[in-house]
Symmetry: C2
Subunit: 582 residues, 2 copies
C-alpha cells in the first residue's frame, strides 16, 4: 500500500524558484571576471536563468542534452546552471585546469552541444574547438563590449543572447531521476569518467548538507564558496545557498589572500568553503598585514587533509570554527563532516584537535563501511584501516556511458579508493589511497602518514613514499625527499626523524633525495609517475643478494606534471583545486 | 535520460539504523508511565524495535497492515513506531483524548489489527474493544508486574512479548512510496479523515525539519518533545532526533510545569517543542518558585497562536529563543517556522516581535499561496488575507479510503482551511479558519482578530465571534463574551474597547454575554456549536425591520464539549493538544 502524499518531484528548479519567491531581494555579489564587483538578486538571477532556458530551447536543446560550462564562480554561472537544468538538460561542468586535449576528449565523450565559457577560458576553448565537433554553439559569459578579438561571429555573447527574452519558460515537470549534472573525475588511471547526477540526488544532497551538523546554512548567512562550481559542484553551495536564502558572494577568478580577505570583510561573509591552500594564503596575508576577519564564523575545509596549524590559527587568532570535510565527485560531493558530537564538544579545545584533524562523521543519508580486500567488514576501532566504501542516494552507481564497468560491491557500496579508519565516536580518517598503500607482509602501511612526518623535518620541502618490490615482504616503503633550496642532508637524518614516531616495520627501507616531486592535475603528488620511475629501485638490504649492483636511480629531472600548461595566468597556483581525491 | 546515482529508497528504518551505527550510546530518557525515570540508548532501542518487528511478523502482520499506538511519548513508543514501520506496516497513532466511540470508529476505519497502548489508556481500550472488531491483539507497553487487573490473558505485556526475540529481522527493502504512518484529523465537520504518510514523505519531512532555519537539531542537542507522538507525529522529532544523534527526553504522561521543569534541568535539555499552554504552565511555575532554566536554548511553539507574553518572558527572563510554527496533520506536520531572516535578525528585539508573532516562513520544500474563493492568487502584501494553500512532498494528496474526495485544487495545492496573510518578508500569519471568517458585503472579517482584542478587555474570561445572517451584508459579526467570575458588564463596554482598534465595518453588530463558550476536542472554541445556537440571532439593527420582536437567545447553558469525558485523570488539561488546526 502506498502513502497518499503529494507527487512533488525533487527537481532543482524548485530551489531557485523558492529563492525567487521567498528571498527575491537577497543578493548575489560577484567579483566579475571583467573586474568590477557586480550585485544582483535571486529574483534577477531567476529571470535571467529563465532567459538562458529560452535561448537553449530555441537552439533545440532537449531533455537529456548536455550543455557544458567552463567558468569561475559567478552569478552568471549560477544563472547558466539553472537555465540548463531547469529544462531538463544536463549541466556539464568542465574543469579549466585540464590539458586542452583532455578537455576536448571530455567534451566529446559527454557530447556537449553548447558550451558556456568565461572570458578567461574563451581563447583556450576557441583555439581547440576543432577537436570538439559535438559543440554547436559557444557562449561567452560577458557582454558585447568584451567580445574577444577574432572570435567568430557565431560565438554568442551572454548578455546579448539573453537580453529581452521572455522570463516564463516552463521549468521542471519531468521525473526526479532525470539527469541534471555531469562532472568528470580526473582519474589517475584510465580515461576520465563522468558522474551523472540526477535532480533527485542533487536535491537530496542539498537537504542533507543543510543539516546543522553538515553545512547548516541559514537565511542569515552570507556564503563565499571559494570551491569552484566547475569541480565537485562547489560542494553543493549553488543549491544550498538559494535553498535557504543565504546571500552568495562569488569570488570570480581571484582566490588570492588579499582578494578573499577583501570580499570576506566588505560583504560581511559568515561562512566559507575551500581547500587548505586557499586558507593558507589568507592566513599568510592576515599575518603579513595584521588585518582581522570580523564576521566569518565557520569555514568548511576539504579536498586534502587540513594541517593543524590552519585549524588552530582560525580558532585561536580569529575565533572561526573550522569544519573538516571529506567527499568526492562520486558523492555529490559531501561525504563526511567534522562537526563535533556532544561528547567532543565539551572537551577542552586541545583535546578536540585529534578529532578535528579527522575527516569527520557521516550525516544521515550516507552509509560508510571499511572492508579488507576480500570485502569483509573491518572494525571501526580507530586503528584498523581498510577500504572506505560508501552508499546513499547521493552516491554514484555507475559512470556515464558505462566507463569503468560495475563500480558497486555486492552490498551496493561504492569503493572510494581511499583507505581509512573509523573511530568509536564515528570519526573517519583517510590514511591513504588504496593504490598508494604499501602492502608489506600482508599488512598495510600508510604512505601518507610517513610523508606527513617526513614533511615535518626542517630540511624537507616535499616528501613522498611509494612501495617498491621486495621478494619477502611483497613491498617495502621508499621515502623520496625534495630538500629545501641550498640544503643538503643524509638519509639517516630522515630515518632518525621517523624513529619512534612510526612502527618499526613501517620504517622506509631507503631514502632518496630528488630535485622535484611531480604533482598531478589536482595538485596532489603523482605517485603513478613516481612508481614508474622508482618502483624498481633496489633496496640496500637487497643489494648484497643481487648478482650485480642495483642500477642507481636516474638523475632526477624536473618532472613535468600531466596536466599541461596553466590555462590562465591570473589564476593562483594550487588553491582552488578540487575537493575529492580523484 | 536518467542520472546514474544509487537507488537508495528513502525509508525511515534507515534513520534508526543510522542512530544505532553512529550514535549508539546516545541516550533516550523517559519519565515512564509507571513512574521512574528510565534510561536507554539508540542501540538498545534499535534492538528492541527489531524485536517488536519479529513479534508482528509472527502474528502475520504484512506490508500495508495497520497497527495502532495509543501512547505517551516514551522510548517504548519509539521502539514500537520503528518496529511497525521497519517491516512496512502502517503505524496508526491514536489520540487518546477522543471519545471512546470516536476512537473505535477510527480503529475500525483504519482496520487496525494490533494496538499497542500505555497503561494509562489500557482500561479505556479494553472496555471498548467489543466496538473494534478488527483488533486481533492488544499489547500493553509495560511489564508483567503491571498487568492490569482483569485484563484478558490474550492481552500481551510488551516486555514479555519482546524478551528474547532475535534482533535481526530485516527492515526496509520496499518502495519509498510505501505507506508508513496514519493519523486522523479530528475534523470539525464530517467524520475524522486519515492522513496516510509514506516513508518518502516522512524521510523528506525529517530532512526538511533538520535545516538550521527549521528545527536545526544537531548531535549536540538534547531534545524534549512535549508535543505528543500520537498527534501530528510529535512534529517529526521521533525521526529528526535519531537522524542527528540528539539525546531524546520523553515526558511520558506528565506535562505540568514542575514535571517539565525537572526534566529540562536534570537532563540538560537544549531544545523543546510544545503548544503555548504547556509553556504557560512552565512559566507560571518558574514565576511561582523563582526557579531558573539553565540549558534550554530554543523552543518551537505551535498548535495555536503564541501570546506575546510567552515570547517575551522566554527571551527577556530566561534567554530562550522562541520559534513560532504552523502546520497540520496534513503537512506531516511542519509547514512554516518563524526563524528570522537576515533583515529581521538585526532589528532590535522589540521590532522583531511583530514578525515573531506571525506563524513564520516556508522552508525549501513547502510552497504556499493565498487565494480567494475563486482560486485566484492574492498578493503577499501582509494585509490581504485569503485561503492558505500548500503544496509539497510532505503534504497530503488525499485522505485514507478516499474520504473527503478530491482535496487538491487545479494546481495541486491542498486547501488548509486557514485564512492567512503573507507579508513581503515572507512571514505568514493565520488570521482565521476559512469557515469562521465572516463574509460581509463581499469582504472578509477575521473572527480571531476581534476575539483576541475582546480577550484583552479586563472583564473577559473568554470571547468568540461568529457571523450571523444579514439580509444586506450576508453576514455580520456577533461577539459572545464569557465574563470573569462575579463580574458584570454592558455590551457598550466591549464595543468601546474595540473602537479604533479595528476597521469600523468590522465592529460587531451585537454583544451577548454567555455562561460558557464551548471548546472542541482540540481545545479550540467550537464555533460550529456556537453557530448552531446563535446563528439565527437577530441583530439589533434588524429588529425594527422584523414584524415581531426577535427571539432572545436562549439562556446560555453550560455547553458540553463534543469530545466526551477525559480518558485519563492524570492528564493536564489542555496543554498537550495538537499542533495544527484540525
Amino acid at each position: 500500500m502506498h502513502g497518499l502524499m503529494q507527487r512533488w518531484p525533487l527537481t532543482v528548479d524548485k530551489i531557485l524558484e523558492h529563492a525567487r519567491n521567498w528571498h527575491g531581494r537577497r543578493e548575489i555579489v560577484t567579483r566579475s571576471v571583467e573586474g568590477p564587483i557586480v550585485r544582483t538578486t535571486y529574483a534577477q538571477v531567476f529571470d535571467r536563468a529563465k532567459q538562458v532556458s529560452h535561448a537553449l530551447l530555441e537552439w533545440g536543446i532537449k531533455l537529456g542534452d548536455r550543455v557544458g560550462t567552463l567558468a569561475w564562480n559567478s552569478a552568471r554561472h549560477v544563472e547558466t546552471w539553472y537555465g540548463i537544468m531547469g529544462v531538463g538538460a544536463v549541466c556539464h561542468t568542465l574543469n579549466p585546469r585540464l590539458h586542452p586535449d583532455q578537455l576536448c576528449w571530455i567534451i566529446n565523450h559527454a557530447g556537449d552541444r553548447v558550451v558556456f565559457t568565461d572570458l578567461t577560458f574563451a581563447p583556450l576553448l576557441l583555439a581547440n574547438l576543432h577537436q570538439a565537433p559535438t559543440v554547436e554553439k559557444v557562449v561567452i559569459l560577458s557582454d558585447e563590449a568584451h567580445r574577444p578579438e577574432g572570435a567568430p561571429a557565431s560565438v554568442a555573447m551572454y548578455e546579448a543572447l539573453i537580453a529581452g527574452r521572455p522570463t516564463d519558460t516552463p521549468w521542471g515537470g519531468f521525473d526526479e531521476e532525470t539527469a541534471c549534472g555531469l562532472c568528470y573525475t580526473s582519474g589517475t588511471t584510465g580515461n576520465p569518467k563522468g558522474v551523472l547526477y540526477s535532480h533527485r540526488s542533487n536535491y537530496l544532497h542539498t537537504l542533507m548538507t543543510l543539516q546543522a551538523d553538515v553545512m547548516g546554512l541559514s537565511a542569515r548567512d552570507t556564503v563565499l564558496p571559494v570551491v569552484p562550481m566547475f569541480h565537485a559542484n562547489a560542494w553543493g553551495i549553488a543549491f544550498s545557498a538559494p535553498a535557504v536564502g543565504a546571500k552568495l558572494v562569488m569570488p570570480g577568478a581571484r582566490m588570492d589572500g588579499p582578494a578573499i580577505h577583501e570580499l570576506l570583510e566588505t560583504e560581511r561573509v559568515t561562512f566559507s568553503a575551500a581547500v587548505p591552500t586557499v586558507w593558507q594564503m589568507l592566513l599568510q596575508h592576515l599575518e603579513a598585514t595584521g588585518d582581522r576577519i570580523t564576521t566569518l564564523k565557520r569555514v568548511v575545509i576539504g579536498g586534502s587533509a587540513c594541517p593543524e596549524a590552519i585549524i588552530r590559527a582560525f580558532h585561536d587568532r580569529y575565533g572561526v570554527e573550522v569544519i573538516h570535510a571529506w567527499g568526492m565527485t562520486e558523492t555529490s560531493p559531501l561525504g563526511t563532516l567534522g562537526t563535533p558530537t556532544a561528547d567532543i564538544a565539551v572537551l577542552p579545545y586541545d583535546q578536540q584537535i585529534p578529532y578535528r584533524l579527522k575527516q569527520g562523521r557521516a550525516p544521515c543519508g550516507i552509509e560508510l563501511k571499511l572492508t579488507d580486500d576480500a570485502d569483509r567488514r573491518l572494525p571501526q576501532d580507530g586503528t584498523t584501516f581498510g577500504r572506505l566504501k560508501v552508499r546513499g542516494a547521493t552516491v554514484a552507481a555507475a559512470y556515464f556511458r558505462g566507463e569503468g564497468g560495475e563500480i558497486l560491491d555486492a552490498e551496493g557500496f561504492f569503493d572510494t579508493g581511499d583507505v581509512a579508519t573509523i573511530d568509536p565516536a564515528g570519526y573517519m580518517q583517510i590514511t591513504d589511497r588504496a593504490k598508494d598503500v604499501i602492502k608489506s607482509g600482508g599488512e598495510w602501511i600508510s604512505s601518507i602518514d610517513i610523508e606527513n612526518l617526513a614533511m615535518g623535518h626542517p630540511k624537507a620541502a616535499l616528501a613522498a613514499v611509494i612501495g617498491v618490490a621486495h621478494p619477502k615482504w611483497d613491498e617495502r616503503p621508499l621515502l623520496l625527499v625534495k630538500l629545501k633550496d641550498g640544503v643538503s642532508a643524509e638519509p639517516r637524518e630522515f630515518l632518525e626523524h621517523l624513529e619512534g614516531r612510526i612502527a618499526k616495520w613501517w620504517m622506509p627501507d631507503d631514502v632518496l633525495f630528488v630535485d622535484e616531486i611531480p604533482l598531478g592535475a589536482t595538485g596532489k603528488i603523482d605517485k603513478k609517475l613516481l612508481r614508474a620511475r622508482f618502483g624498481d629501485h633496489v633496496l640496500p638490504s637487497l643489494r648484497a643478494q643481487t648478482p650485480e649492483p642495483a642500477p642507481a636511480p636516474e638523475p632526477s629531472p624536473v618532472l613535468e606534471t600531466v596536466s599541461g600548461p596553466e590555462p590562465a595566468p591570473s589564476k593562483p597556483k594550487g588553491g582552488l583545486w578540487p575537493f575529492g581525491r580523484k
